[in-house]
């Protein structure tokens, strides 16, 4: 074996060791790397207690209501398994819509309502002209999911 073969084998082994190590580290920090928790995790009390966190999911169709002041909104975040009611006072992002993705930062109230201090819209990875979207909406039965990442399946 020539010295350069030895060096390549060493580099290869080093990279494999590094990959294994980083996989273990990422696995260990799995719960810290998620950006938001799902309504199912909220229902199973898998969320941090006593401090703020984010919940993410889909804004349930027909759940959006506005109070008289025009700023306070109520809506329901769902992952199609569990639901969490959310209250938010502020300006919603342009892409915030019923049936679309949302991530809200805030705290869980005593009554199970999530008091959001910030609401972000989460859009999916599908891009198409409006006509195609209309045709798709007509063809599709209600409730079918167009994106795998918009609503995270409960684990």
């Amino acid at each position: 074996m020539k010295p350069r073969h030895k060096r390549f084998i060493l580099i290869g082994l080093g990279l494999i060791a590094l990959a294994v190590a980083s996989m273990l580290v990422l696995n260990a920090f799995q719960s810290n790397l998620v950006f938001f928790f799902t309504p199912t995790q909220v229902a199973n009390a898998e969320v941090p207690k006593g401090r703020g966190f984010r919940i993410g999911g889909m804004v349930e169709n027909g759940s959006l209501t506005r109070e008289g002041d025009g700023l306070t909104v109520h809506f329901v975040v769902t992952d199609l398994a569990k639901r969490v009611p959310v209250t938010f006072k502020g300006i919603l992002p342009d892409l915030f819509k019923e049936g679309k993705g949302v991530v809200a930062q805030g705290q869980l109230g005593a009554d199970g309502t999530f008091l959001a201090s910030e609401v972000l819209a989460k859009h999916d990875e599908n891009y198409m002209p409006p006509e195609a979207a209309d045709a798709l909406a007509k063809a599709k039965t209600a409730g079918a999911q167009s994106s795998r990442t918009l609503v995270v399946n409960p684990r």
Binding site: I11, G56, L120, A121
Partner: protein
């Protein structure tokens, strides 16, 4: 290795590569100009508006190709660095050195355009989700590699140290790519991938792929130009180009 009748190894010597790179740069530059021009035209004038984001989505035609290039270029840079370490070959280290600034530029471009896209769609310039954070770390890796090389005077040590840094950092690339699948993130999933049909209209995909090709051509042209500078800087030989004086030889050594 002469299966095409050309001795490829000839070009692994800096003296032979320098003029070859000079001849190739105009071609790659022209291709980059044409492809980026065509890509931007399709992206901004031919591609339809999006059903939910309107025209704001059009930043994807710069954002996604830039993000792809930031990851591609890192892998290529790390491959040259690994080759340099294995073969103890100076030209490989020079290639790694020449690629780094372009990679850093594309990483910065991806972060900048992503930020400009995030504000109108998500409602935030920046969030600390896995995709955005890992891409930011990639920018720090590029900067770290450039700085580490610049901070060591001995070229051989600078080569080896920055090569090891580049190789270690390559674990971040799959993390960036798969972050949207492994963890829930605010960033959406991949629209275009090797395994599934694109989740965008055909003209949109075309514009994005043409832009990516253009960015490739640009990267090659710029890397070759930088490579020529690196070669001249590092391989100053007395017999190069003109007759050198004893003083110049002493300076070069």
């Amino acid at each position: 290795m002469s299966f095409t009748g050309i001795n490829w190894f000839k070009y692994s010597s800096p003296q032979a590569f320098h003029p070859l790179a000079g001849r190739m740069i105009p071609w790659f530059s022209a291709a980059a100009l044409v492809l980026i021009g065509v890509g931007l035209y399709i992206g901004f004038f031919v591609a339809p508006t999006d059903f939910q984001q309107g025209d704001a989505y059009r930043i994807i035609f710069v954002h996604v190709p830039a993000a792809w290039m930031s990851m591609f270029l890192y892998v290529i840079m790390a491959a040259w660095a690994g080759l340099g370490l294995g073969l103890n070959a100076r030209p490989s280290f020079m290639m790694a050195q020449a690629i780094a600034p372009t990679g850093a530029m594309f990483t910065f471009l991806a972060l900048l355009t992503g930020s400009m896209w995030g504000k109108p769609t998500w409602g935030a310039w920046w969030v600390w989700d896995a995709r955005l954070t890992s891409e930011l770390i990639l920018l720090f890796q590029y900067i770290g590699i450039i700085l580490l090389r610049a901070s060591i005077d001995d070229l051989r040590r600078a080569d080896r140290a920055s090569a090891v840094f580049a190789l270690v950092g390559v674990v971040n690339v799959p993390i960036i790519y798969f972050s949207v699948r492994w963890w829930n993130t605010l960033h959406q999933g991949a629209s275009v991938s090797m395994t599934a049909s694109p989740k965008m209209a055909a003209t949109m995909v075309t514009a994005m792929l043409v832009m990516t090709l253009g960015f490739w051509m640009y990267s090659i042209a710029v890397t070759l130009a930088r490579m020529r500078c690196v070669i001249v800087e590092r391989e100053r030989q007395p017999a190069w180009g003109k007759n050198a004086s004893i003083q110049e030889v002493a300076e070069a050594r």
